[in-house]
């Protein structure tokens, strides 16, 4: 398997203020975004371009920034159909979100809301996929979850909902509970004296 999809942990808090960069200095959302942050921005862009390319191969298409990568070719989805790939993606990490944009630069108010809620709870290690980078992903994830919009939030491999639902879960305390089930302690618990339930 060519590289396979790299662990797509987003640790954006590790580099506060760091801006996502693109290999060619092009617009945000270019190559460097296909892969969520792994905390290795900076010098050595060629290395991350290679990793991004590997991640793209996973999709079998070079749909980056609107163009296809020449020479990459189409990798047949030999490891199963798209649904299976998505299934693997949402199960690989405890918290998985599909956004328009990235945690550093959300391109949509609803996606931003998801990012902010996760930040409030101190959830820093989560996988974030930018659907704007990949039209097939953008449609595929909607088909997979039978849910018409982005952002989409998955906890423990299970589709939880979009921004509305996450917000309500945040407001009524359910999100703290769900995170606890995943072994994630919400930062909000440390802010106040929580009565035991």
């Amino acid at each position: 398997m060519i590289g396979g999809i790299k662990p797509v942990l987003s640790n954006h808090e590790a580099h506060p203020g760091a801006r996502p960069m693109s290999a060619s200095g092009g617009p945000v959302g270019h190559l460097g975004h296909r892969q969520p942050r792994v905390g290795r921005r900076g010098a050595g862009m060629s290395a991350s371009v290679c990793r991004s390319a590997a991640a793209l191969l996973r999709w079998g298409r070079g749909a980056v920034g609107g163009g296809r990568l020449p020479g990459v070719g189409v990798r047949a989805a030999s490891s199963g159909g798209q649904a299976e790939q998505l299934d693997a993606m949402v199960k690989k990490d405890k918290v998985v979100v599909f956004l328009k944009g990235t945690p550093e630069q959300p391109q949509c108010g609803f996606s931003n809301a998801v990012v902010q809620i996760l930040r409030l709870h101190g959830v820093r290690d989560y996988a974030a996929y930018n659907v704007l980078d990949d039209p097939e992903l953008r449609q595929g994830i909607k088909d997979y979850s039978n849910w018409p919009t982005i952002p989409q939030v998955y906890l423990n491999g299970e589709f939880v909902g979009g921004c509305d639902i996450l917000l309500q879960m945040h407001q009524n305390g359910d999100l703290v509970e769900e995170l606890k089930k995943l072994g994630i302690r919400s930062a909000l618990l440390d802010e106040k004296n929580e009565d035991s339930k």
Binding site: F110, N146, W147, P148, T149, F159, V160, G161, G162, C163, D164, I165, Q168, M169
Partner: protein, 86 residues
Amino acid sequence: MELSADYLREKLRQDLEAEHVEVEDTTLNRCATSFRVLVVSAKFEGKPLLQRHRLVNECLAEELPHIHAFEQKTLTPEQWTRERPK
């Protein structure tokens, strides 16, 4: 199929036997056809949020592909009584 607030409101009210529906056209905020809806229905009783939202999505299955941004709030009649602005 129509994409007006009135149309959506009526469709939701009928399909979900809702006692109260609000549909706000938020298109101007989003530069593309967008709506925010509130649906109060006894059909939501005992259902988790995701299931409630899916009911709404199913009701508007024809329209949603043409709507760019969609926000929804789903309450049971009891929740509405508690939450509604007095």
